[in-house]
């Protein structure tokens, strides 16, 4: 935390602390680019922990894919404006490999079948098709496939997670699921957030007590599904420990936000990126970006400890959509919030949303966003890049619908990789202070 630092400099300033911004910082660090990442908490806190690549295309047909790479090929052919159309398969694969290797090193291992999507049981008994899952979720993929005799556990204290609901909803495809409602060990209040439960399991005493309760109702269950609260900072150890105490494979069932999955990712990224020399300015808000006459950028930043300026050769916008703050919808149009870049969007607000919330085609406003060139540079009104070294990545990009295509993480990671690789260092010195 650069307390007291009023002016700093870097090659690449990444704006946005979601998956796109964090993975852009990772890829930039791998390229040896001097990087500062600045952003508020971001959408990552709402993450489920699952990593989608691509599962549904075309939306109009609601066609689901087992092979995400084949889906990508079809999508590139059908929607040439889609950001994925500018990310070759080999690059997307390389980006995922790099990301998963990084997270594994940070103690947050993921599991996947390289060429297949998998189905994961999630909250409310829904089954989500995704690409990679945290190691702690993976046994659920297998349990569902094998229709294992399984016990689903929920807790008095955790709202919005009902084992009975999960079992009764999954019953047609996964009969015979048993449920148990347990008091969460060490809890005092009836109502707790996932984060508090996860923290409580850091204590061995609580794990012992939980394991004992679960063993008592295990019966013939060959695996046990629990809400995804098994630890926050030491998940790998806590999960293994619980599994050993209970004696059968466990799996976490992703829950509704606010969940701990995003906190785990955030923690892993922050530790790992800092170790790679990335300067992190979390909880900082970029108020504005100025173009310098010499082709550099100056970012005006607000933090708890005051105002900063950040000089950068290049900027990557990974600022997200409405929830992340990269876009803003006014009554008469969608705007990009930092540079007022042109935003591709429906003609009028009446056309933003369909009459049916769950219309499988999704809402037209979801395709609104920044239009980019092959170098992932946002285009101005003249159709030319706004700046040679201004890039954009992630959900702020136009012509995609990550929520309906189930491609959120894939889109973020692939476009972050592409945007970072498009950056070319400039010659000459800048001579800003702070270098």
């Amino acid at each position: 935390m650069p307390t007291g630092v009023k002016e700093i400099g870097c090659e690449l300033a990444i704006i946005g602390a979601g998956i796109a911004g964090l993975s852009a910082a990772l890829f930039a660090a791998h390229r040896g680019i001097e990087t500062v990442l600045v952003g508020e908490t971001g959408e990552i806190l709402f993450a489920s922990g699952l990593m989608d690549l691509l599962a549904v295309h075309p939306l109009e047909e609601g066609k689901t894919w087992d092979d995400p790479w084949a889906a990508l090929t079809a999508l590139r052919r059908d929607i040439p404006e889609h950001p994925f159309a500018r990310t070759p398969t080999a690059d997307v694969a390389a980006a995922f490999d790099a990301l998963l290797a990084f997270l594994k090193n940070q103690g947050l291992p993921y599991r996947r079948r390289p060429d297949r999507n998998v189905e994961v049981p999630v909250a409310m008994g829904a089954v989500k098709r995704t690409y990679c899952t945290p190691e702690t979720v993976w046994n659920g993929v297998r349990a569902l496939e094998e229709k294992q005799p399984c016990l689903i556990v929920d807790f008095d204290q955790l709202r919005g997670f009902s084992a009975r609901q999960i079992a009764s909803t999954l019953e047609p495809r996964w009969p015979g699921l048993r449920t148990a409602r347990l008091p969460f060990p060490g809890g005092t209040f009836s109502q707790q957030y996932a984060e508090q439960l996860a923290m409580a399991l850091e204590a061995p005493r609580n794990r012992a007590s939980l394991a004992c309760d679960i063993r008592a109702c295990l019966g013939t269950a060959r695996s046990v599904g629990l809400p995804a609260v098994l630890g926050l900072y030491r998940t790998e150890m806590i999960f293994e420990d619980l599994q050993k105490r209970i004696g059968v494979p466990l799996f976490e069932i992703p829950i509704l936000p606010p969940s701990v999955a995003g906190l785990r990712l955030q923690d892993a990224f922050h530790r790992g990126l800092a170790a790679k020399g990335v300067r992190l300015l979390p909880h900082h808000r970029v108020r504005g970006i100025r173009y310098e006459h010499n082709g550099h950028f100056i970012l005006d930043i607000t933090a708890l400890d005051g105002e900063h300026t950040l000089n950068a050769d290049a900027v990557a916008l990974a600022s997200g959509r409405f929830l992340g703050g990269g876009l803003r919808g006014d009554r008469n149009g969608v705007r990009e919030t930092l540079l007022d870049l042109p935003v591709y969007q429906p003609k009028e607000r009446a056309a933003w949303h369909r009459q049916d919330f769950l219309d499988p085609r999704g809402h037209p406003v979801n395709a609104a966003g920044l239009i980019i060139d092959d170098q992932f540079r946002p285009l101005g009104h003249d159709g030319q890049p706004v700046h040679e070294r201004l890039f954009a990545a992630g959900s702020v990009l136009a012509h995609q619908n990550w929520m309906r295509s189930k491609c959120g993480v894939g889109l973020s990671v692939a476009t972050a990789y592409a945007a970072v690789n498009a950056y070319q260092p400039i010659d000459g010195t800048r001579g800003e202070p702070g270098r």
Partner: protein, 513 residues
């Protein structure tokens, strides 16, 4: 048991009538195609009119409103918030209308006190600095849901039944009399025939259709009115625009929010009404003239209802159609035991019920007089939770950490759901997610069901009230119902909220498939 009267429609008129008749010892059944208040009774401002609004158009309605509002304040204070009201004119409003207003109020007996502009703006700081006249009137607000529920509660205690999700599809006639109503259960498709001596249609916008099924004639005008709900409360009082009734001229506080309306749009049929982006934009710009903040404040949803108006000969537009009620005796259509009660206002619902009950009793030979004019409306604690702001007040007074808040925006703990579910069952209903949400403030807050939708569904599953794919389908319906209201207000903060909601229900849960 022999049923004397079938009441069609569980809006506030039908349920008010049920109570009135029950208190006179008449056995009734109320049949309703949806749940209670599913038409105009649940889609209005919640304004308890002092009558001032109608002094220029209909002095009779104005006087009725004044008298009935006074009665309700006295007899059903649990449903009323005595906010008071203002009438304000802004630069450019009709000077003659402004000048006539106090005289007309005086004529109708409505106390309207002229205010200094400065005082008015001190009383309601949200008012524009361009107001040119202001009057204080005894307007108030009423919770139409609580009113309907408490009315029916007393009727039910006196033996009245309510058949929800039963749609009238026809009648059996016997000469000049209706013999039975033919109902279809909209959930199971099963047919039910209910015989009675008297039939009353209090079906609101569907009165025309019901009358046609009975072989009678009713010419209805369907006027759609849309209203927008703000994220926070803008004013303490009701604020009316001091001009000839037009679009976007009444702001009504509702607990922690304000409700602004309305529009007036002629519709061909009374079904599938929903507020539109265009209507909300129109309301926002109309409202901003009186209250500039309406241009910038966050809106959380909108809703639309149909005003059931009875067509009159001359067509001076829907705003000029009388808001008085009419009791139609279909004897002229050759039916001796069929009445329609229609038109009117929420404010005058009790009077409408009284007049209708008088006629029904006269026909049944029942001589007991109306009791609703003197008897207070009793309060049942299970039916209080539609009141905006009640749950948070109770929670702050008696926080119980063993009682988890399932809806955080409106601060509704699990025990409230338990109480409501118990009472739904006691009345013979089944506690679906929709039934529960209609009887509480669940989903009405800023998150519009993003979190409480999933939590309460899970809770109902835990309790064993619903399960599996049915629970899933109920949640889908609940989300779609919220969406109808949210859709036209999705910009700024509410757009952010809806994106999160879509990320949860589509991105994670894949509910669109």
């Amino acid at each position: 048991m022999h049923i004397q009267v079938v009441i069609i429609g569980a809006g506030v008129t039908g349920l008010g009538l049920a109570r009135d008749l029950a208190l006179r010892g008449v056995s009734c059944i109320v049949v309703e195609q949806g749940d209670f208040n599913s038409g105009a009774s649940g889609r209005n401002h919640g304004l308890l009119h002092s009558g001032s609004r109608y002094v220029s158009s209909d002095t009779e309605v104005a006087a009725e409103c004044l008298e009935e509002a006074d009665l309700l304040k006295k007899l059903a204070p649990q449903c009323v918030e005595e906010t008071g009201g203002l009438f304000v004119a802004v630069e450019g409003d009709d000077e003659t209308f402004i000048a006539d207003f106090p005289l007309l109020c005086d004529k109708a007996g409505i106390p309207a006190r002229a205010l200094d502009i400065k005082d008015a703006r001190e009383m309601e700081p949200c008012l524009s600095d361009r107001i040119i006249a202001a009057y204080e009137v005894p307007d108030a607000t009423v919770d139409p849901f609580k009113l309907a529920l408490q009315n029916f509660h007393q009727a039910h205690q006196n033996g009245t039944k309510l058949l929800r999700y039963h749609k009238v599809v026809g009648f059996k006639r016997n000469g000049g009399r209706l013999k039975s109503a033919h109902l279809v259960n909209t959930e199971t498709g099963g047919a039910v025939f209910v015989e009675a001596d008297q039939f009353v249609s209090a079906a609101g916008a569907w009165c025309g259709e019901i009358a046609r099924m009975a072989g009678a004639d009713m010419d209805m005008v369907y006027s759609k009115g849309s209203l927008a709900v703000t994220h926070s409360r803008l004013s303490e009082r009701v604020i009316n625009r001091l001009r000839k009734p037009a679009d976007g001229d009444i702001l009504v506080p509702g607990g922690t929010v304000s409700i602004f309306g309305t529009t007036s749009l002629r519709m061909d049929v009374p079904s599938d009404v929903r507020p539109t982006v265009r209507e909300v934009d129109h309301l926002v710009s109309e409202g901003a003239a009186m209250i500039p903040e309406m241009e910038t404040i966050r809106y959380i949803r909108a809703y639309a209802g149909i005003r059931p108006l009875i067509k009159s000969g001359d067509d001076g537009g829907d705003r000029s159609v009388s808001r008085g009620f009419i009791l139609v005796d279909h004897a002229d259509d050759g039916l001796d035991n069929f009445l329609t009660i229609s038109g009117g206002k929420l404010t005058t619902y009790r009077l409408m019920a009284e007049r209708t009950a008088d006629r029904v009793c006269e026909r049944l030979g029942v001589c007991r007089p109306c009791r609703t004019r003197e008897e207070p409306l009793p309060t049942d604690p299970a039916w209080e939770w539609t009141e905006p702001g009640l749950a948070p007040r109770e929670w702050i007074k008696h926080p119980d950490h063993e009682d988890p808040l399932l809806c955080e925006c409106e601060m509704i703990p699990a025990s409230v759901f338990d109480s409501v579910i118990g009472s739904i069952r006691a009345q013979g209903g089944s506690p679906s997610l929709k039934a529960v949400s209609l009887r509480t403030r669940m989903g009405k807050g800023a998150c519009q069901g993003s979190f409480c939708g999933a939590r309460v569904t899970g809770y109902l599953c835990d309790r064993g009230d619903i399960a599996g794919r049915d629970a899933h389908a109920e949640l889908k319906r609940f989300l779609q119902e919220r969406w109808k209201g949210e859709r036209p207000t999705l910009w700024g903060g509410q757009l952010v909220q809806s994106e999160l909601k879509e990320a949860i229900y589509c991105g994670l849960l894949g509910m669109e498939t």
